[in-house]
Amino acid sequence: MSKTGKIVQWEVMRNLHNKQFIIGLFLTPLLIALFAGVPRILERLDKPETVRYYVIDDIDALETLQKGISSETIILRSYEGNREDIEDQTKSDKFTGYFFLQEDFWQSGNLPMFFKERNHQAERTIKAVLGGLLQQNRMQQLGVDEEQVSYLTAAAKLEMIPMEEAIVPQANEIMVSIAFIVLIFFLIFSSGSMLMQSASQERRDRMAEIILSSVTSSQLMQGKIIGQFLLGMIQLLFWITISLPLVIYILEFPVMQAIMDTNLMVVVMFGLLGYLLFSSLFVSMGATMEDMQSAGNSQGLVIMIPMLSFLFISPVVNNPNGMVSRFAGLFPITSPVIMILRNAVTKVPVWEIIASGVILALSSYFTIKAAGKIFRIGMLMYGKTATISEIFRWLKYPD
């Protein structure tokens, strides 16, 4: 195994045995599930309450009303007994309430509803269906026949027809692309902060010089970047494995089909290049910090740089081929996220994808080179956090 490979293995194994990492691995999805998933699951588990109303129907509208409601949880039962006894019957049968469908409803549009307890959801549904019946009845009174009524009340529809097959991606593809963007963001932030911590800890533990007597600073940096990438992927795969069945169950979403429909090449290329760019930046900043408390300093702010992409998300969604979107798609700090997003909402010209990829690859290369220099010098400077002017001075040193 190469020396970089040994460092990768050490980084991965050390963290996999670390209690904090293991707790985080299990706790994070639990917390996400707790705050996002559990209310929905509970909603599903908790069956809606069935409401029952007695109805005295003098206008032969009950059957149409029942059809219109078409809900198993709203039961309307025709009352056949004495009108004076309906309230007592409602109470003794533990019904929710009762109401009369009478001739004056067609004129007044007003329906008194007697209730024992209110159920707003059921009331809204009944009101909506009754509204339709009222409208229909009044039109018929005005001499408009049934066919004309449905013609008059028909809603307008927009039928979207793409001029070319790939011009408008499917909604599922957009959802998957957004999911990938979230995952890439997570990978960058999670692995990024772990990288910073790892470099800073190695420096604080006074291990850097011992390690550098065995490997080059580039090997050490590469090992850390790859190691933390793998750890991030382990976290993601673990969480995806346990969450995917839940997502499919809750959202009833054809995940595999949507992934197959997504332009995975663009996602993987921009995701990886983006990770390389930001992780090399983060690890080099970690090497300049004595401890993570210094993360409040300028170096700590570096971790916020990927957030710049958020500024462009709305302009890109609203106008994916506009000037702002094109700029954000080429600018290397925002392009990893923006190109994936643009590619999901519009058909990006191939030359733009290639140009953006080349700019990002070159930026990553030069960032890695500069980061390597900062890392090499920073790791050997003990006892204090480097200032920004010192970091810029190091960049001028020969390799």
């Binding site: 020396k3 460092i7 533990d205 010089e209 011992i210 007597s213 065995s214 490997v215 001075r393």
Partner: protein, 307 residues
């Protein structure tokens, strides 16, 4: 046989010249003392030697039976830096295995050697302990083991004795002598001059990035070590008669009945002895050469005063 040579190596950081045309050589089996005050350029020289940083000028030459090279293979170097630590949350055997692995020692071999060394330092019971559970002395022994586990040809030790109790110091000294006998070249940097005197075959003294002295201990003493007379008497005696003499460089009253008198350069002790009068109530008289400690202080202070 392993050989190491530095030829006119220089390094500067920005405007500051940290190492200035430093040259020395060392053969296998030698313990070379690498001395200098804080900020003299020792750490930078060591880092250049190990290839952690590159020299601006000059060469590092590494010699083996097979030929010459300008880079010392990292697997041939063992290093114990002054600023040192270990992964606190990791287990002893895992850390040793990882560090030996980086020096290309096979996993099984590394484990066997680590257990042998732990046994030698009475730490075998701690092989599965976490580093943070060990005392300072114990973790220092682990760090020492890590630096020699791969059987390096060049062992660089920066302040290996600091914080060690006398028993552990003796253990370290014995191991260093044994390693040297087996052919390891040891570059030893320490401010504990008595230990340096005990162990080193030769001394390289650096100050403000420049070579001050390079030679054997008798040579350095010959060059810089004046004679020193310690005189103690049984009753009151007028020491001024002696301390005021023209060939006395310095004197220090140790207590009411004892004085330490340093003679000027090139003054022989016999010259001093002839001026002690016959009535002097001598209880004890000791003539010695200045210690390495005295020479170090004298050179460091003297150079600073001159500059």
């Amino acid at each position: 046989m392993f050989g190491l040579e530095l030829r006119e190596v220089s390094k500067s950081f920005g405007e500051k010249q940290v190492v200035d045309k430093v040259s020395f050589a060392s053969e296998g089996g030698e313990i070379l003392g690498f001395l200098g005050p804080n900020g003299a350029g020792k750490t930078t020289t060591i880092r250049i030697l190990m290839g952690i940083i590159a020299a601006d000028e000059g060469k590092v030459i590494y010699r083996t039976e097979k030929g010459f090279s300008e880079i010392i293979p990292k697997s041939s170097i063992g290093y114990l830096p002054e600023e040192r630590g270990l992964y606190k949350e990791a287990k002893v055997l895992n850390v040793l295995g990882f560090l030996a692995g980086l020096k290309s020692v096979a996993k099984k071999e590394a484990r066997e050697r680590a257990l042998q060394w732990l046994d030698k330092f009475a730490l075998k019971d701690y092989s599965q302990a976490k580093i943070e559970e060990l005392s300072k002395g114990m973790s220092q022994k682990i760090q020492f083991i890590a630096s020699i586990l791969h059987k390096p040809k060049l062992l660089i030790l920066d302040e290996p004795f600091s914080g060690l109790d006398p028993v552990s110091q003796d253990l370290f000294k014995a191991e260093l002598r044994r390693l040297a006998e087996e052919g390891t070249t040891i570059l030893l940097s320490s401010h504990q001059m008595n230990i340096m005197e005990e162990l080193c075959n030769r001394i390289f003294l650096i100050h403000q990035g420049k070579e001050v002295f390079y030679g054997t201990l008798p040579e350095i003493k010959e060059k810089y070590g004046n004679y020193k007379v310690t005189l103690s008497v049984t009753e009151n005696y007028d020491f001024n008669r002696l301390t005021g003499l023209s060939f006395v460089a310095d004197s220090e009253r140790l207590n009411a009945l004892e004085y330490e008198i340093s003679l000027k350069e090139k003054t022989q002790p016999g010259e001093f002895l002839t001026v002690i009068d016959k009535d002097c109530p001598i209880r004890e008289l000791k003539v010695s050469r200045s210690s390495l400690h005295d020479i170090f202080v004298k050179i460091a202070l003297g150079r600073e005063e001159n500059e």
